[in-house]
């Protein structure tokens, strides 16, 4: 056994020149749980559509799971031209081995030149395994994507104390792989009339051969979900402590939104790390973002600058946050936030006529 194991080394790069010309098109691996696709998958299809048009190549999606036919159709509505669908009981829960097997088979059969996945827990788990198996280069946690004239994928990600972006290429192998942060790109509007093809892919698997078993999934309903929030009220060091965050919570509640925080506020323990927006936290893209008592450090800004509307409240008129805000209020947040809350309440609650 030990002997056998010692000799096994998966993912050794082939020697010599390989002809990659058959590899064409972009494939997005769609992530789902219990028949529900993750928003990042549709965001990726949205961005990949742009790249596919630039390359004049098809946009493919790979859907794996059990009872996920609907997701395959949904993928077409979000922009996929061809969906590879692998629907099998062994794929009910995500597990590295069965998912890798299907994924590798599809990649080797249909030869996409680019493969993209969400930089989620599952996406990273799978991408790391796939890229090693193939083998190919993987750019993790990308926040910008493009393609050049030589059909190279330009995947950019934060580097060097996070103030810079590095563009990473893989010239040597195909497909070129990247995982991409949730919330960075925008999904195309869903179009049920869009035409596309669903191709079923089967892989001979036996449950008895799969060592790892998922016993249960315990959903955490309290888990913060900043990525999907439409309205975010974020506070920073200026908020002064947990009590200050109560003011922000009231504004968030009035707007049906959620609170969030800068790293200064999470490091100080005023808010849980799960609420942190930015480079080392979550990338968000709400319709409305309030930055309250946040100076606007680059590591914070990269995580929220794609919000549709940004309102900054800061007592320092020179705070950099004002450079990226649509509207700026120079003032004391302890005065301004309750005023905002009250004014919203007045306008949003139906007026009762006497």
């Amino acid at each position: 056994m030990a002997e056998e194991r010692r000799r096994k080394m998966i993912g050794l790069q082939p020697e010599g020149e390989i002809d990659w010309s058959e590899y064409k098109g972009i494939m997005v691996v769609v992530e789902q749980r219990a028949g529900q696709a993750k928003p990042v998958s549709w965001q990726l299809l949205g961005e990949a559509k742009r790249l596919a048009q630039k390359l004049d190549a098809p946009l493919m999606a790979l859907v794996m799971g059990e009872g996920v036919r609907d997701i395959a159709d949904e993928a077409i509505g979000y922009g996929a031209d061809i969906v590879y669908l692998s629907d099998a009981p062994e794929l009910r829960d995500y597990r590295t081995r069965p998912y890798s097997r299907v994924c590798l088979k599809v990649i080797r059969t249909y030869k996409p030149e680019i493969v993209l996945m969400g930089a989620t827990y599952t996406g990273r788990d799978l991408a790391g395994a796939i890229a090693t198996h193939l083998p190919t280069g993987l750019t993790a946690d990308s926040t910008q994507l493009d393609v050049d004239d030589e059909r190279l994928l330009l995947a950019s990600r934060p580097a060097f104390s996070e103030k810079m972006l590095a563009t990473i290429l893989c010239k040597q192998f195909k497909p070129q792989m990247a995982t991409v942060r949730a919330g960075v790109f925008q999904a195309l509007p869903f179009d049920s009339a869009r035409a596309g093809e669903v191709v079923e892919v089967s892989e001979d698997m036996r449950e008895g051969d799969i060592v790892t078993k998922v016993l249960e999934f315990i959903q955490d309903t309290n888990r913060v979900n900043l990525e999907d929030a439409q309205v975010i009220v974020a506070g920073g060091r200026g908020v002064g402590g947990p009590d200050g965050f109560k003011l922000l919570e009231e504004l968030a509640r009035t707007l049906g939104g959620t609170v969030a925080a800068s790293r200064a506020a999470t490091d100080l323990g005023w808010m849980d790390h799960a609420y942190q927006v930015g480079q080392t936290g979550t990338t968000v893209r709400p319709k409305l973002y309030f930055a309250i008592g946040i100076s606007g450090a680059v590591q914070h800004v990269v995580g929220m600058q794609n919000s549709d509307y940004i309102i900054a409240v800061n007592k320092d008129a020179n705070a950099p946050i004002f450079q990226i805000a649509n509207y700026g209020i120079v003032g004391d947040l302890f005065e301004v936030v309750p005023l905002l809350t009250r004014a919203f309440q007045e306008r949003l609650t139906p007026v009762v006529t006497r």
Partner: protein
């Protein structure tokens, strides 16, 4: 080593080391800490020794510099095989984050894949381990909840900080660490290492450029007047925008 007892190799992460030591305390195991990095990384290895690890190995060579995930996982997989040859079968590998810039937790899965181990990422709790059968149950920390998963050794586990609180060094541990010199493995120590697959040269990904992103250009409107006036002005503008419709502000 007792039969059926896991040996544990780790590439440097204190939470992984702690969990390995707990297994050692409970069932008996040899804990080897393995890290790839510059010579200065031997400090961290000595710390692991002071906590109770049996060996500390530093995989270090200029030739490894500039490695991406693929090249790194190749070297570490090779080192794990060498550790197995040296100290016996490796049943559980705890992998943490690598210290180097740009690691995003992809090296762990890369190693598991290369040496064909089961792979469990983002583990926040080891619920149960049976040293006789090698079966273990863990909790994986995911975005929207926790997953309980059962598997069997050999397995590679990547950990999250919720897993445990690393212990402090014991006095005998500190004494041992003071005298201990970590083992260093360089390219010359790996017989079958293919030198074309390591370091910068063996890395398929290349950095084509780095730059400081241009800040997004926005027309900022700074409001004026009293706090009351500014607040109402902002709200007027928001209600006049498409947000009124998209956020259902009827």
């Amino acid at each position: 080593m007792r039969q059926g007892v896991p040996a544990v190799v780790n590439y440097f992460d204190m939470h992984g080391v702690e969990e390995a030591l707990r297994i050692k305390d409970k069932y008996g195991a040899r804990v080897t800490v393995l890290t790839m990095g510059p010579p200065s990384a031997d400090k961290a290895l000595k710390q692991c020794i002071s906590m109770g690890a049996d060996e500390g190995v530093l995989v270090s060579d200029r030739a490894f510099a500039g490695a991406d995930t693929l090249a790194t996982s190749y070297v570490l997989a090779t080192a794990i095989y060498k550790a197995a040859d040296t100290w016996g079968p490796v049943d559980i590998i705890f992998a943490g984050k690598q210290t180097s810039d740009g690691d995003t937790g992809q090296v762990g899965p890369g190693i598991a894949c290369r040496i064909d181990y089961e792979q469990l990422t983002y583990v926040q709790k080891v619920e149960d381990l049976n040293p006789e059968t090698g079966e273990l149950t863990v909790h994986r920390h995911l975005e929207d909840g926790v997953e309980r998963v059962k598997t069997k050794t050999p397995v590679l586990i990547t950990v999250v900080t919720e897993l445990n609180v690393p212990r402090r060094a014991s006095l005998p541990g500190m004494l041992r660490a003071a005298r201990y010199t970590p083992i260093v493995w360089t390219t010359n120590d790996f017989e079958d290492l293919d030198r074309s697959k390591i370091g910068l040269h063996g890395s398929p990904t290349i950095v084509s450029k780095t730059w400081v992103p241009e800040p997004k250009h926005v027309e900022t409107e700074m409001l004026s007047g009293s706090a009351q006036e500014m607040s109402s002005a902002v709200i007027d503008r928001l209600f006049a925008s498409e947000l009124k419709q998209s956020l259902n502000w009827a």
